[in-house]
Amino acid sequence: MAEVTLEDVSKIYGEDVVAVRDMNLDIKDGEFIVFVGPSGCGKSTALRMIAGLEDISSGKVFIGDNVVNDLPPRDRDIAMVFQNYALYPHMNVRENMGFALKLKKMDKAEIERRVDEAARILSIERFLDRKPKALSGGQRQRVALGRAIVREPKAFLMDEPLSNLDAKLRVQMRTEIGKLHNRIGVTTIYVTHDQTEAMTMADRIVVLKDGVVQQVDTPQVMYENPKNVFVAGFIGSPAMNFMRARLEKENGGYAATFGRTRIPLDRSAVGERGMDLGRYAGEEVVLGIRPEHIEDATLAEGAAIGSTNAPNTIEVEPQVIESMGSEKYLYFGIPQEQSVHLDSVAHMTGDSGVDGGGSADDFDEMLVARVSAESQARRGDRMLLALDASKIKLFDPETEQAIL
């Protein structure tokens, strides 16, 4: 077990194709870190540089106290789990799991003991004498995990280990990997494109885009305080809604306005950032609000909010209503002049998660509200939605950085 540290690590292919740019990261001993981002964001490359499967163009990678830049993978004392399991087809499960130990010339009895122990933890004792091709996807993934565990390495590296499994099994294995990590507590770096996996498993999430780290935080902080439009849109499912708004001063505080809607910003949320916000007074900003912070106005808490002239409501005409049983997703358009076209938002289409991500694709231009199941909303009928003013996020339209 060890800390893993990245210092200004870059990976450049050829002359100028940058896969990872100046990545800095301190991974604590025993931490579960998830690299997440859309395909091509450099997350796998970063992992492979830590593993030693990819050369490091510049910067330093530390495992424990040692710089490992020039060490081959075998001398880094790390174990890796691959997306397609990469089990040796000509060896049975026992040989697969014991392969690394055998290479280390470990005592036969000790190998036996460790393999049995790992097999017990993963409940694959029954399969020890089978060849990988006689196993199901889930069982193979367990064997791949087992092969990592027996090593007792300084760190586990996992490259999209669950993406070849079907949805149900994926959720199950997610929990198991979590339990496994709690049990053995080895530093783990986990790569995924699925923000749900990142949110549910990580101690801390690293969001990458175009080879650049966007934000490193715990899932909750990442969700509540995304640093920029990209992170805001990537984390959370369905994705955050964005629209154009104007920031205005209003009796000592601020309000975000668009169309006929005027949302007074929560004073406690504005807090010490009030000074910064001043710069944007009278300017256009990007307003972000998560679907779960929009409610059918007739069901929203507080009588004032429910009334038609309440300031923080918008009048919409739902185009599609998806009933999930426990809640309803309303998809609605907004006037052209309020809609936002940001590169970083377009970038995320289809990568926003397992649930809802697929259907959101078809409604690129639409916003989503996640309202109570009791909502009487009907397709095509105009209705009022109430926005939770305390959850509003604001972003600079140029830099796309969060300003609130």
Binding site: A51, L53, P73, R74, F82, Q83, A86, F99, A100, L103
Partner: protein
């Protein structure tokens, strides 16, 4: 495989099916008839050989011709020569071929497709065209009438085939496996030896058989560069079952059968493997 797909596509159409079988039967007959005829020649008596009109089925089968060739020490020597030449060619081709193919399949380098084309281009040369210059060179090196005179050109012409087949084989092996082995603590050589080689074994084996068949059947180079019966392979020795006055066709036929037999047996045993080896890379397994 052809039969399977043809019958699938023609299901429901009796005429198509009938046509398919007619063509199949004609094709098989045309291909097999000469071989059967040679086999027949090898088991009949001399008088029946020259009977007119010729008999279709052997009237009095005899093993006399086989007795003749196996009683002939020259034929035995020729069989040994063939084995040495084809075997050595195969080993050399596999050694260099697998190293080259592994590098081509795995490493990133410029002009890879040009290299592959150049390799293939070697086998474009008609052997007849280079036989005279080769003869002069070999005489200069003093290797005329040695095994080398057959092995060297055989290797040159078989190696492109070997490399091409092996490249498609190695490309099929997932790169992850080597990486997994390296992370598991293996050196590059260990990863190659303990993971890649065992997995590639079927492919290497197929290639070995095909190379062996090629070298075993080679006639032109051997006939041109080897004059001494001590080094001549069977392909060259067969026509020698003739004296100044007579040609022993029966013995020649028996020798031809004996020479073909090992190959036929090899291919029959491993045909599934050979087909899958040739089509590796064409279809995702």
């Amino acid at each position: 495989m052809a039969a399977a797909s043809a019958s699938r596509s023609s299901r429901g159409s009796g005429l198509n099916l009938a046509l398919f079988y007619v063509f199949l039967i004609v094709f098989v007959l045309v291909s097999v008839a000469p071989l059967l005829w040679v086999f027949k020649m090898s088991i009949i008596t001399k008088s029946e050989l020259f009977a007119s009109p010729p008999t279709i089925l052997p009237r009095t089968p005899t093993a006399a011709s086989y007795a003749t060739i196996f009683g002939d020490p020259a034929f035995q020597k020729a069989l040994i020569n063939s084995t040495i030449i084809a075997g050595t060619t195969t080993i050399i081709c596999l050694f260099f071929g697998s190293i080259a193919a592994y590098a081509i399949a795995r490493l990133r380098f410029r002009f890879k497709s040009i290299v592959m084309t150049l390799i293939l281009a070697i086998s474009f040369f008609p052997p007849v065209a280079i036989i005279a210059p080769l003869f002069i060179q070999f005489r200069t090196f003093g290797i005329i009438d040695t095994y080398l005179a057959a092995i060297v050109p055989d290797v040159v012409f078989a190696l492109p085939l070997t490399i091409w087949i092996l490249v498609s084989f190695f490309k099929e092996l997932p790169r992850d496996l080597e990486e997994a082995a390296k992370v598991d603590g293996a050196t590059t050589i260990q990863a190659f030896r303990k993971v890649i080689v065992p997995l590639a074994a079927p492919g290497v084996f197929t290639t070995a058989i095909l190379t062996f068949i090629f070298a075993w059947n080679e006639f032109l180079f051997a006939n041109t560069f080897l004059f001494d019966a001590d080094t001549q392979p069977v392909t060259v020795a067969i026509p020698n079952f003739a004296t100044v006055y007579t040609v022993d066709y029966g013995a020649q036929a028996a020798a031809a059968v004996m020479v073909t037999m090992p190959l036929v047996i090899l291919v029959l045993i491993f045909q599934r493997r050979i087909v899958s080896g040739l089509t590796a890379g064409a279809v995702k397994g």
